[in-house]
């Protein structure tokens, strides 16, 4: 057999089997870095995919004060729910774009044949997706929260809960996004598949936000969100890779 073993992933200069080791295989880290760079570059060329969920989030959260009451004390009560429902729906909206283009143009196929772990490559893709949708959402949340009457002191809790929660949502959603690749107009199906997994994130995220607004200690629900994110990191890419493979058949 040839000179490559399962160590290919982390060793730095394994020589390729091809034609006397002229080429050097890319390490797993290099591959992940390239996928991140590629997705960020693509996102800046097709901005509407980033802007759409953010605009949705902004519109929904600003409609609450208009439709319910401008009274800050009452807005403050509904703020956690409003922020989190809007953030959850915006994340779901963005999920549709996660693998769709790559499946359509054959990129996923090439990922599957790259000799790299498909699980790892999809993890890199999902991370890029979170950087492009979850992080901007978390950064925008203070504005929306301020409009809903949340005090300045609560912003740390709100930003960190949405950042962690959206990471968990991106990862859990990746499973649904991969499963619905073969379905045309998959938006509704994707939401149905993802929502049951997303509900715990919504509950703990809203709880952390509520505690932050009240000025209490919000660490406990934040830890639970982190636990969901860790669960997502460990299991979701595996499931997504299996789903993508089924879709390639």
């Amino acid at each position: 057999m040839v000179m490559q073993t399962s160590a290919v992933e982390h060793s730095h200069t394994p020589s390729s089997a091809a034609f006397g080791g002229r080429t050097v295989r890319a390490s797993a880290w290099e591959a992940a870095r390239l996928i991140l760079a590629r997705d960020l570059r693509l996102a800046f060329r097709k901005r509407e995919q980033i802007v759409q969920p953010l605009a949705f989030f902004a519109i929904v959260t600003t409609l609450f004060p208009l439709s319910i009451t401008p009274e800050l004390s009452r807005l403050r009560e509904i703020a956690p729910g409003a922020l989190w429902v809007a953030a959850l729906l915006a994340s779901l909206l963005a999920l549709e774009f996660l693998f769709r283009d790559d499946a359509y143009d054959g990129t996923l196929e090439q990922f599957a044949l790259s000799g790299q772990s498909l699980t790892w490559l999809l993890f890199a893709k999902t991370t890029a997706h979170w950087l492009l949708t979850g992080v901007p959402l978390a950064l925008m949340a203070p504005l929306a929260a301020a409009a809903l009457g949340a005090p300045m002191s609560s912003l740390v809790g709100i930003v960190s809960s949405i950042a962690l929660g959206s990471l968990a949502l991106s990862l859990l959603g990746a499973i649904g996004a991969a499963l619905t690749l073969g379905v045309k107009r998959s938006g509704v199906l994707l939401s149905l598949l993802t929502l049951p997994l997303a509900v715990p994130v919504l509950i703990f995220g809203a709880r952390a936000t509520e505690l932050a607004i009240k000025g209490s200690d919000f660490a406990a629900p934040l830890y639970l969100l982190a636990a969901f994110a860790v669960l997502g990191i460990t299991l979701a890419p595996l499931a997504a890779a299996a789903a993508v493979r089924i879709n390639l058949e």
Partner: protein, 208 residues
Amino acid sequence: MSGRRLQGENLHLWRGERHVLRAVEFDLRGGEVLQVTGANGAGKTSLLRTLCGFMYPEEGRVLWDGADVRTDMQTFHGDLAYLGHEPPLKADLTGRENLRYWVGVRRRLSTSDIDTALENVGAAAFGNRLVRTLSAGQRRRVALAGLSLLDADLWLLDEPTTNLDAKGQQLVSRLIEEQAARGGLVVAAVHHPLDIASTRLRPLELAA
């Protein structure tokens, strides 16, 4: 020369009610080109996708260097390059960027590697244009540059000459010849016979 070998053993594939591959057998060694022909729907694409491991045959095995590819798919994938009907290119990236990301996931490559490959397929002039502005034939050429950059022992090509002009078709034949001359293997599904030395050619006709 690396003595690599690809075998198909009694491959049977069903797609729903259709028996697509019926006892397909071949034995291909380094330096040889398997030319797969057959009418539309005869299963050329299915055969290539079965060899890739995307589809599982109901019966039979694919052997790479004598070992069933299913025992270590990832290593096998590291040795092969597959080019399907559509070039795997992103419309919103330039040809050059596409190669950097597509091939770079797999192997290290420098800017000059990309330049050389683009020149080699006559794509240097439009390598910096967004792929969405390229014609189908130009995209195909960029994809061929990627194929040679992947530097794989085994090429699996589905209709590699689609959308190419006469010169482009010669280019495909030349690339395949070069690959075989280096001791590589090529499996090509084609409608028109490839223009390469008959000593290298192993025909495989699929019945419809």
